[in-house]
Symmetry: T
Subunit: 143 residues, 12 copies
């Protein structure tokens, strides 16, 4: 059964608490359970990781190579500042698809561009938790 | 049966001819047929429009209100320059979802920001023709 | 009886529907009727045109020469992006007076400057529909 | 009888002497007399103040509250540099309408944006002394 | 006999009327006649089109493929703002050569760069109507 | 008994009236009385001055030398525009501590940097009227 | 007894060694002891944490919720670059007050703005170690 | 005997106290006496004025017309920020020559350009008090 | 027989060796011979000069006055950086026409604007060696 | 025997896998072995550390003080974004020499400046693995 | 007798021919003769040099050390672009005083700042040929 | 015996005199002798050239082809301004290695980027005269 990594960056462990009008009211755990069940029906296995540490995310992306068929990655605030994460995604071969819950083009100026997105396969932004589902569907098709 | 409008902006009628290594080799007609069949299976009716004229696109977005359940919109080069299209999307209530075939964050500097995307429900970029499918799935869920 | 052209750019046909808290609740038709009656009392004849197409607006400005005594022009979103409309206004001799319903200096950064306003006789901004009346009064005085 | 304050900023006491091809040949006194007579016919009382001192203008705007029905304000060169005047206009409740004799969008780069205009009810620019008349008409309507 | 398209963008139908000290005193019709006669002597057939509508110009460039040996294109004000025209020129294969009557490097800041010129074969600027002749000579050589 | 000057810049005389949700509902007089009583308990004498005139503030800062042990200064809108006040603070030796009632980093772009703060001993921002108390405590310690 | 967290970011463990003319000669341990004793007299309990790892700081801020009455936070160099820390502070509800030992407006250009400060309750900058005391006093008042 | 006005802007009354290594150790009074004596020998009468108030300087420049043969003006910090002073100098006809004691091109970025200098006859910068002498000599020649 | 100067700036002596895919494979000598023969048939005499020294180019432009009927000038890398060459071209009266072999709008950002082109009669860019021929034809017409 | 620390930042553990045409085909381990042997011949002992975590690198730089005679540091992507690493290098006294394998001036715009390099002893860039050798030689000379 | 070098940069040998309305109608030779006679009366010997070559000017500035008491330098267009001339002036000890005939603050944007002026003793700009005299007087005083 | 050219740009002939605290106290001659002896021991022959003239440096780089095995180039102030030198280095095939004595990232903003460095093999900066030795070692290895 194809396996995908769903990787969350900083502060996504606060989902449900942080700006619920922007990010929704469900916790990361709730969302993960829903995604897991939904994916299993489609014959896909998901693994979930969240870290607030940039280097941990880099480590996990590097380790994903050969283990997962693809990575759904929400780099949170690091999207806009991390050359190191960008270098990592561009160095590995496992396909990475970037997801943002809110529409990054419709918020503060500093959220408009995504350095990590520059080297990802694609970016889905503004579709809430559904964005993860679309990304999973898309990666499943690639495998 | 729910109906969606798939609206294409300038030069997308050249699909298959323009930079095939970036945009693929199928024509807009081929892609539309494929999308139509695929959507019909999912119980959705699609209508397709393409125009190179900014004002035509505005007219069609305005007319979509009350007629379609949603619009999948690829504004092409107008994404980056058209305040008028942005004003239109923000003025109408039918949900608009923006799609770009190529990854707009990975090309020229002037393609990085999307004025129309600022006021769309979401943006899917870099996933080729699959981006349209994901957008259709997402709009179908909204209706 | 002196005749003036009241020319509206993109999305102004949505007046009454678009952001009513910003643009008011009356439709373009209602406003035009009111302006027409009000002007007729002052001995002025108005003609109204609206288009979402940049080139149509250019065509109409060019044709206004020798036909109208002046043009009240709300270029909408084209004010901020159209070198071509700016070139047109600067090339014709019929006096053009620019009107914006909302205060363009009090909104998004990209609305602050008006390329078309650079070459218009004057600019009235932020006074709602009254802005059109003031512009008509002013053009009537010029004729 | 409704009373309005016509407030002039720096160097407007030089009207008639300064760049007559831009600002006309009449002195501030001549213009004020004309405006006064014209307004009186319309049943309005005007009071005139001019100062080259930014803080004086702030003092007079603050004092206008409760005394005048509105302020026609030409902040001259302070429009482009004074955060303090901007703060003042935004803090008081008497309606302020900004007038510029010349078209601020058609001159030097540093005159394009008006900080004070950001928080005024509206801005009339480029219509010469007629701009004051239009502003007076508009404020009279508000009262 | 080789055929070339001479395509004019917005406001070029005003030649002879607009800023004669910059653009000369002859009308577009006069110039076209002169160019046509001059080209015929050199064994070339010219066709002339002018439009103020960006999308019309895109349509005509797309249709030129396979019909004309080359396009002499003066995009007027669209040169500086149109990503869509740029995308079109870069997508088609018929050679496009950009001509500007005035020297775009010697005027306003916003005329200095040409987006359409980035992807044209070459640019001739500042040589008045002679620029068209040089462009025709050059395209004739390419064919 | 050590004496401190509490110096207020433009529009701070409107406290209680201006944006109460940002600046609170108490008047400058109320606040001054409270601060005076509070300081007296701590064995400190305060003197209060407010002016809307940049040059008055400069005069008062210059005169503070040798008279006061320190200055608590809220330069209001002048913080962001006045090279002259900056030069003054850097020229005198009496310690100046800058206070802003609201958080200047959390508002408009033009309020982010403080020219006067560049040469002050320190800056306290965002703590409301308590900011003045903290500044007084700190200056008392310096003396 | 109310408890506050005093959280230090990168390189603050070098206090006493790093640029003593800017940051003073006492070590972080000495300063913490002094602050602890001083706070205890005022009936406040302090806890101290320092980390050079951005994600550790995020973790600790998240954990502070419900445990501490407030956080005195010196984010060091992360103030100017970390969107992730900014997102964290804006997502939690425990009040955070930012302190900088040196005056961030009086040093290099890149230290002028504080992303984390944008969403903190307030900022105290330039007052050396006394800045911590003022922040503690202020948070004690909030509780 | 020809009369010249020597006009000093903000903080120049602090000469001798402010940054003596930059501005020298003599007071404004000492320097004025020296200049007066030196000028008298050359058959010139000088009058001295200093103000920290922008509007006072504008008033004095306006009054200089017809009274003085020229103005030696050191606008201090207002050089870099005052559109109003710039407008004043450009509106009056008495020749104004700008002097800066220090080299404005060799200090902070914000001192590099002088708005008032744009419209002055000339600028002498970096020559200390001698700059005033050279300006006086030059104006004497003009008269 | 009319004489023209063909003046080449830095590194153009490397033609044929430098980036042949951009600049072609013929040496400057070969090209000059071809141009010379071609021009002679048209009754024109050409003289050729190349220098890597900015001041030499200035000297030669100055000396061209009265000797040549026009100058075809390829300033190479100096186009983008030399205010001195720009001043020279604008000071002399002999017509100068600028030629670039490659399309300066389609390369690095720093090649987009040409300081020397601002004051030349016109600019031909992107047409390879044919650009020289077109420039010669154009200058021949002027004489 | 003098000891040096060779410290690698994020993604350098991917050497040999990441962009081999840019970074070469040898792994970090291979390179380290080669450097170790080469250094030992020159009587130098090397220690190697790599981390993807910014704070780990800060920790290790701080600990290097007193233990190593110098640090050869390749901060990878952190060079361009980390104020915290910059502060650390400037706070410690052990000499740090920065090395980049590729030429940072010849790649993306965001790699051109190095914040960490601002405060390092020197920077060697573009010389591949040889850059490390040159840095070691240089530090050996310093000790 | 004290000797001064009057050094002229590019295009100043065209004085009298270039833009006479800006630079006057006298040639460099005429001006030099006048300055020489005028200086001799004041007991000063002048030497004149002009070059269009940046490196020649550097050579001559370097050679001036120990030979001349000071240099009056008009770097022409090199003022705004030459880091090398700036480095030279800052490296030598002979005092250099920069003169510009026209007011560099009142012309094109690119002439506003002077790199060479940053490190000169002072700058005199806008006073025509009299600027040289004032500079000579000033240098004579320094010697 | 392999031969290398050591090429110095403007003002490097002032070594020992210019800012000795930055550039050291030895003259260019002393340094060259030391480098020559040191290189000869390593079996390398060096040739030294210095010029203040940009075009001379271009000439010498062009002539180095086929004569030298490599060039150690310190372009001095030209690094930051010369497109022509950049074009030259990129056109020739002899390897060029750029050396700066001081750390260009730690000085003025305008020294941070090196246009010539963009196309050099590598850059060594901040290591004083040792930088030349490292560059020589590196080029020796390439040959």
């Amino acid at each position: 059964m194809p396996r995908l990594l769903v990787l969350h960056g900083p502060n996504l462990n606060l989902l449900g608490k942080r700006d619920p009008e922007v990010y929704g009211e469900r916790s990361l755990k709730d969302i993960s359970s829903e995604l897991e069940a939904w994916a299993r029906e489609k014959g896909l296995e998901l693994e979930f990781l969240q870290s607030n540490i940039e280097g941990d995310l880099i480590d996990n992306l590097q380790k994903a190579e050969g283990v997962f068929g693809g990575v759904v990655f929400n780099p949170g605030g690091f999207s806009h500042t991390s050359v190191a994460l960008r270098d990592c995604i561009s160095a590995i071969e496992v396909p990475v698809l970037e997801v943002h819950i809110s529409n990054i083009h419709a918020r503060e100026q500093f959220r408009r561009h995504t350095l990590t997105g520059e080297v990802s396969r694609g970016i889905i932004t503004g579709l809430g938790v559904d964005g993860y589902k679309l990304a999973i569907l898309q990666l499943a098709e690639l495998i």
